[in-house]
Structure formats: structure tokens, C-alpha cells
């Protein structure tokens, strides 16, 4: 698994070094994810493979754009599980993904705050 430092570096590449933007995106990420999770859970309850797949797809795109590529890969797996209507496994993985994402956000934030100027 990649180090948080490598991850931070990639996140900064995604925003072309704009630390202010990265902070803003990291602040937004948990609630954006929560909104998509809510759609995902509803889709699972409804056994709606299309809606579940779309929600997972959005999660994937969002994570990837910020630079969280490994987490985006997990979202991709959930997308595939949803497509196959494997809802219970998909939901379990999604809950795990949310936890991991929130933890990663916290770590990257901490590193970003302690980053020396001109990093």
C-alpha cells in the first residue's frame, strides 16, 4: 500500500499544487460521500442495480479526481458487484470504503497541515 506522503503528493498533483483547493476538497469529501452512500443504500433496499451502480460510479469518479486512486479501485469493484446485483456484498464493501476514505482524509489533512511551506 502506498504511503500517505505519496498519496498527498498525488492529491497535490491533481490540484496543480493548490493547497487551498485540496483542503477545501478534503473538507467536502465526507459529506459528498455520505450523500452518495445514502443513494447507494436506498438503491440496495430497492434492489435497483442501475441506481446502485450509478452511485458507486459517482463515488469512484470523485475519489479518483481527488487523487485517491486505490480507493477509487475499491469503488470500481463495488460498481461491478452492483451491476451483478450482488447487493449484500456490495453494501458491506461500500461501508468499508466509506470508513477507509474518512480515515484517509484525516491522515492526508494532518500531513497537509504540517507540510512545510514550499513543499
Amino acid at each position: 500500500m502506498e504511503t500517505t506522503r505519496t498519496l498527498l503528493h498525488r492529491c497535490l498533483t491533481q490540484v496543480e499544487g493548490d493547497t487551498g483547493l485540496l483542503e477545501e476538497l478534503l473538507d467536502m469529501l465526507p459529506s459528498c460521500l455520505e450523500d452518495l452512500m445514502a443513494s447507494f443504500r436506498k438503491a440496495v433496499v430497492d434492489h435497483d442495480a442501475t441506481a446502485a451502480h450509478e452511485a458507486a460510479h459517482s463515488v469512484k469518479g470523485m475519489l479518483a479526481n481527488v487523487g485517491f486512486f486505490e480507493l477509487a479501485e475499491l469503488a470500481y469493484e463495488i460498481e461491478q458487484l452492483s451491476k451483478a446485483s450482488r447487493f449484500s456484498v456490495a453494501l458491506e464493501r461500500m461501508e468499508e470504503l466509506a470508513e477507509k476514505t474518512n480515515a484517509t482524509v484525516t491522515e492526508v489533512r494532518k500531513l497537509l497541515e504540517n507540510m512545510p511551506c514550499g513543499c
Binding site: L25, G61, N65, V66
Partner: protein, 314 residues
């Protein structure tokens, strides 16, 4: 250059907004495919659009397809943003009318050069449209006087005639000729003659409203078209044109020339069956009458019948 961002994910949208702002673009952004399409089809649209493939209300491919079907100008350069990587998907996007695509997660540097490529295309297209418009106007304009040329003024007459028929309004046609123009040319030279024509065209325009038309019909002949909402008063139009030319001397290159014109007019009243060529012919006959009767005057075709036959002089 203004850029539209259509992206339903709030985080990705924010990221794109800030990125484009950093690059110095003016932005319009929306989470909705429908709103994106409305903006692109509306007045003064952004000329570059970065459109997400998957959006809740209307997907990016449909936005492309509908935009291309409903608008050809100005050309809008569309970059589809997609999480899909299969060739079939990309082909579908490009066939729907996208110019380019970028796969999520987008690399900002790559996105930037793709947007720049789009800007180049949009600029080239604008230049082409401007050049074409300039050529079109050139083809219709008399180069000396900058008013309509012979063909263009006759085309205007046809279209004004059709409009008058549709709207039930009247149309006055005036044929004007600069008196003794050959003499001006012979006395002062062709350059002064040209300036007399330029000044005459300018004075005719002074008398006319923006929606009236004037063209150079021949060497020193001008054709004027005046649509009239109220019952037309051709004699009044004729008098004003005639007076505007003769009223003050032309100041050209230190010369103070007295220039006069002869004006013949005809009228088309709603429901009359007189086609445009005949209107011109009647105005020309009235002009001929003025010429035969000492020039420097105006005459309405329908008033000629009430007058004694013209003197047999030239």
C-alpha cells in the same frame, strides 16, 4: 474565453471550477445536463464546454447530440468527461458530436492542453465566420459609396416587396440621378466626380431611416426603397431627397460645388398587382420626365398623367 462546466458531482465540479479559474477562464457551471443544454443553445453561449458523461437529468452524450442538431453557429467545442474507458463508449461520445474526451481521473495538465486545442479551433472558426461575413458584405456593397450595389438593392426591393405584401404596408421607390454628372467629371476630374457620388450617397442616407434602403443602381444613379406604415406620401419623400442634395453646396477639396439631382418616384399600395421591376420602371419614367423638363426636380409617376405631355426637348 468563457467555459461551461456541466458536472453533477459537487466535489468534482468545485475542483474543475477552481482549476479553470486558476487558468484564467471565465466560468459558467451547472450540475444539470438540461441547464447546460439551455445555456449552450441560449444567447451568447460559452464557446468551450466541459461536459460530464453521466448526469442525473440529461447525460453528456445527449447534450452533445441535441446541441449539434439544434445549433451550428457559433461553433461550441465540447470535451466529454467520462469514467468510461472502452473504445465503443468513446466512439459513441465522439459520434454524438463531442470534439474530444477526457477520462476520469483527469490529469490537469492533459485537460489544460486539450482545452487549449479547443480554444484554437474555436478561434479559427470565429475568424472564418468573420471573413465569410466580410466577403458576403463586400459582395453586396458598392466599394466607392459603401451603400448596396446594383444586385443587392434589387434583392432588397424583392424582400421589402414581399414583406410589404405580408404586412399590408406601402412601398415607395425612388430613382435618383445626379444632374450633369458628366460635366462635373469633365470639369473637375474623376476624383471629384467620385467624391460627389460619395457625398450624395451620404446625404441620401441622412434623409432615410435605418430600415429604408439605398443602393447605387448605375454610374450616377441611386435607387431608394422606403417602406411606409402610414399611407405613403411619395412627393414628400421626393422633396426631402431632392432638397437635401441641392440645399447646401458640396465642400470637396476646396471646391464649393452646387449639385442637384432629378428624382422619379413610384408607389406600391397594398393589394396592387405591380411587381418590383415595374415599380422601378415607373420610377424611371418619372425620372425621365424630370430630366426632359429641365432636371433638378422630383416627380411621382402617378402624378404625371395629370400633367401635359412633356416638351419635346432633351
Amino acid at each position: 474565453m468563457r467555459v461551461l462546466i456541466a458536472e453533477d458531482n459537487v466535489l468534482t465540479r468545485r475542483m474543475l471550477e477552481r482549476t479553470f479559474e486558476r487558468w484564467g477562464y471565465e466560468l459558467v457551471s451547472t450540475p444539470s445536463g438540461k441547464e447546460a443544454l439551455d445555456l449552450l443553445l441560449g444567447p451568447d453561449p460559452p464557446l468551450i464546454a466541459v461536459v460530464d458523461w453521466m448526469m442525473g437529468d440529461l447525460d453528456g452524450v445527449t447534450v452533445c447530440r441535441r446541441l449539434r442538431a439544434e445549433r451550428t453557429e457559433p461553433y461550441i467545442y465540447i470535451i466529454l468527461v467520462t469514467g468510461r474507458r472502452s473504445t465503443a463508449d468513446i466512439v459513441a461520445g465522439l459520434e454524438a458530436g463531442a470534439d474530444d474526451y477526457i477520462v476520469k481521473p483527469f490529469n490537469p495538465e492533459e485537460l489544460r492542453v486539450r482545452v487549449r486545442a479547443g480554444e484554437r479551433i474555436v478561434r479559427l472558426h470565429q475568424e472564418l465566420v468573420n471573413a465569410r461575413e466580410k466577403l458576403r458584405l463586400q459582395a453586396l456593397t458598392d466599394p466607392l459609396t459603401q451603400i448596396w450595389n446594383h444586385k443587392a438593392i434589387l434583392d432588397r426591393l424583392d424582400s421589402e416587396y414581399e414583406r410589404a405584401q405580408r404586412e399590408g404596408i406601402e412601398l415607395v421607390v425612388a430613382m435618383m440621378d445626379v444632374d450633369r454628372f458628366k460635366q462635373i467629371n469633365d470639369t473637375y476630374g474623376h476624383q471629384v466626380g467620385d467624391q460627389v457620388l460619395v457625398e450624395t450617397a451620404a446625404r441620401i442616407r441622412d434623409v432615410l431611416r435605418p430600415y429604408d434602403s439605398v443602393g447605387r443602381y448605375g454610374g450616377e444613379e441611386f435607387l431608394v426603397i422606403v417602406p411606409c406604415q402610414n399611407p405613403a406620401d411619395p412627393a414628400d419623400i421626393g422633396r426631402r431627397l431632392w432638397q437635401r442634395i441641392r440645399g447646401t453646396r458640396y465642400k470637396l477639396d476646396g471646391l464649393h460645388l452646387r449639385v442637384t439631382v432629378s428624382v422619379g418616384l413610384s408607389v406600391w399600395h397594398a393589394s396592387e398587382d405591380i411587381p418590383p421591376p415595374q415599380l422601378v420602371q415607373r420610377a424611371d419614367q418619372a425620372l425621365y420626365y424630370v430630366k426632359r423638363n429641365g432636371r433638378d426636380n422630383y416627380m411621382v409617376y402617378s402624378h404625371m398623367a395629370a400633367l401635359p405631355a412633356p416638351a419635346n426637348a432633351g
